[in-house]
Symmetry: C2
Subunit: 444 residues, 2 copies
């Protein structure tokens, strides 16, 4: 029998540790990693290791023997023993002068594509089938490191603001958003669906926790293929009770975005640098009514309003352009969407019967968030369902929320991939979904 007490000491050092070493501690260090690049300089070679924290340069004096050829191959996993020295031209200001390389594992084949270039010249169509290989590229892997930083920041902010994290079921008996874009599932002889959002559950938990959030997968069976839709994406959802108006939600999101950008600057600056990202500065975010926004854009850019009840993608782009030009803001909240375009749980605007107390957030031309105040009164919700052609008895569990009492509340849902896509200024949402699911794609 063995006993373990939870301390992990394998002796291999990470980049930050290597940088901080002084004096004799710099001698005979052990470092593991995968060989990212080899630059043969004749008598010696620069062996660049890929490690958790980035790349590190190692200087290897060649012997010319056979074993060496086996060891010096890209994507080999190795442990290097050597001495740390200063090298201002190396990326971390240090390099390792190698005394020994131990081979742990070798690829069976060479890479199908050179992944160690600074900028990869590969189309998204060619990249996606080998995405997990392409992610070994230093710049590519920074994209999803940044993603992990964003969700860390969001969670930290929401926890600080007294939100409780929830995990709602993804296999459900009814869709929250209605419509045809819902995946069907065989569930032990019963009909089931994949959750289009955690909407019902978020609301049902308002009387329990007052403020809840969830960051998890949502599923939309959209049949069209665009650069801004995925069939499975990561939803950032929160819901809060006792709001005075939907501006409380807008304020909370604004605070969350400010916090996240600062958090990324403080903790993920290396990723931002590798991706050449300059994060926007948020002081205030302008809010404009849906109807006004449409008219402003029609007037300024000489456009006809074709559909008074919805924003076309081009209109979203122009609203953003207008607010960038006139208010220097990358973000704009468009508020008071028409009832026609909002789900049955949206609260109507008491001041204008055609509109709801809801909003979208546009970020550089694209909708990244939809939110608003919800109906909390039982009879109002039942009437609204009926007016939308729905059967209240199909929503019995959900309506218990209203029947048994709940405070005024509201919330929002953000698409994580869209947010990241705008941050790193990519045009196709498949760039910011690690293994995207679309109408043609289930693999890898």
């Amino acid at each position: 029998m063995v006993k373990v007490n939870g301390e992990i000491k394998n002796g291999d050092l990470e980049i930050e540790q290597l940088i901080s070493l002084k004096g004799d501690a710099r001698k005979g260090v052990s470092v593991h990693g995968m060989i990212y690049n080899i630059r043969d300089m004749g008598d010696f070679a620069f062996v660049i290791l890929r490690k958790i924290g980035g790349l590190i340069q190692c200087v290897y004096n060649k012997t010319g023997d056979e074993e060496e050829k086996e060891i010096l191959k890209e994507e080999n996993s190795v442990v290097i023993i050597g001495d740390v020295g200063d090298e201002p031209r190396a990326v971390n200001g240090i390099e390792i002068v190698v005394s020994e390389i131990k081979l742990l594992s070798s690829p069976a084949e060479e890479l199908p594509f050179a992944i160690n270039k600074r900028n990869l010249n590969i189309s998204i169509e060619n990249e996606l089938p080998i995405r997990h290989i392409v992610l070994r590229n230093e710049k590519r892997r920074s994209i999803f490191r940044l993603q992990s930083g964003i969700v860390q920041a969001f969670r930290k902010y929401l926890e600080q603001n007294n939100f409780t994290e929830i995990f709602s079921p993804k296999i459900v008996a009814a869709g929250a958003e209605g419509g045809a874009n819902i995946f069907k599932l065989e569930y032990f002889g019963k009909k089931a669906y994949l959750a289009q959002s955690p909407q019902f559950y978020k609301q049902m938990l308002i009387p329990v926790y007052e403020r809840v959030f969830e960051i998890g997968p949502v599923f939309r069976a959209e049949k069209h293929e665009t650069v801004r839709h995925l069939n499975e994406y990561i939803g950032v959802d929160f819901e809060m009770g006792f709001i005075k108006s939907f501006y409380d939600i807008i304020n909370m999101e604004t605070g969350m975005l400010k916090f996240a950008f600062q958090y990324l600057k403080d903790n993920y600056n290396d990723c931002l640098k590798k991706l050449n990202v300059e994060l926007p500065v948020i002081n205030e975010i302008p809010c404009v009514k849906f109807k006004d926004a449409k008219e402003m854009v029609a007037a300024k850019y000489n456009r006809k309003i074709r559909d008074p009840y919805d924003l076309e993608p081009e209109e979203e782009r122009l609203i953003s352009q207008l607010f960038k030009e006139e208010h220097n803001s990358d973000f704009v909240f468009v508020t008071h969407y028409p009832i026609k375009k909002r789900p049955f749980y949206a609260m109507d605007d008491p001041e204008n019967e055609k509109y709801t107390l809801s909003f979208d957030l546009l970020y550089n031309g694209m909708e990244i968030t939809t939110g608003g105040q919800r109906i909390h009164d039982y009879q109002t919700q039942v009437d609204k369902m009926i007016s939308k052609g729905l059967e209240p008895k199909d929503f019995e569990s959900y309506l218990m929320l209203h029947k048994q009492g709940c405070p005024p509340h509201g919330g929002l849902g953000m698409g994580l991939e869209r947010f990241l896509m705008k941050i790193i200024d990519e045009k196709n949402i498949r760039s910011t979904s690690m293994f995207p699911r679309d109408i043609n794609r289930l693999n890898p």
Copy 2:
């Protein structure tokens, strides 16, 4: 147009803020919440508000008018204005002497079940259809507050240990764990499945990030109904590269558990108290080989070994009992499981061809984690697939990992509901799944 800058000031105070108030600041405070309980004392009433941080006692002097009867109802959402006073007999040491109550919202019906008792007398069968209502109970809601604390702690520990958080797709083209327990899905005319685990994706990202984790839903179409299985549960998964042996994984998990228990003591003590939980102290966790454990239990408790390749639930219970009795440990790692019972990606034990370099963690009689070292060599993995009757060409994307090189690695998966169930000493896993999915249950 409005501009918002992200500050939320609605003036209502939370419990912690109320407790910290001094002097004149205690006068005329505003507090919102839902009425949990009303104790009518004749001339006055104790109105207990349910708030994010727990319950708070308010003292209301009755007037006897009609409006008052509407306001003083359980599950009403209200804002109370009043003065804070010391009251050693109240749960927080303070109470609010009410000068005004504003009604925000009222339930349409009385609760189907009194949720404001300290201990609820309701069967799980009766509870589950109204789970979201029952969760309004102070003790019940603590269960899932504790859950949110556990995942916070796990993430914090893993981030400190250089793990990158990932979000792997849940709609997949092939199951990682094989077998029949996989949900089928119609995906735009193609066959698709719900992911049984993030196994393939975790491994595929080892050469990218070296250490990755994911906490998210996993789906198992188990046809049997037990108190320890769910058809959808929250998997806590991590995977790490450059391990020297699977004991590195065991060490990492041990460290994570120690950290989590300390974190819960420091940050979720109120929930622990409400649930009467005494967390176990972990110093060292014993490890015992599968074969030895079976024999020890057979000898000590006079049992016959029926199936030499698997542990029966009763054996798991007895192994735990033995290690509790002899080593005072609530946890025990059972290592070196037979090849027969482990998936195709498990690495064989080079010292014994019948066993694998793998483990389960038992916690008070129940398996809560399965983990182990994985095969990293391409040819070894292909051969193993064939020996298990699988077609390597069905796993082309996954095998790119091995073909293009990856370091020795391994990881584990833990069931969050099982872990929480053992912490709070519940017998049915439906107690620790907020909205459980089983063979008969899709609602709410």
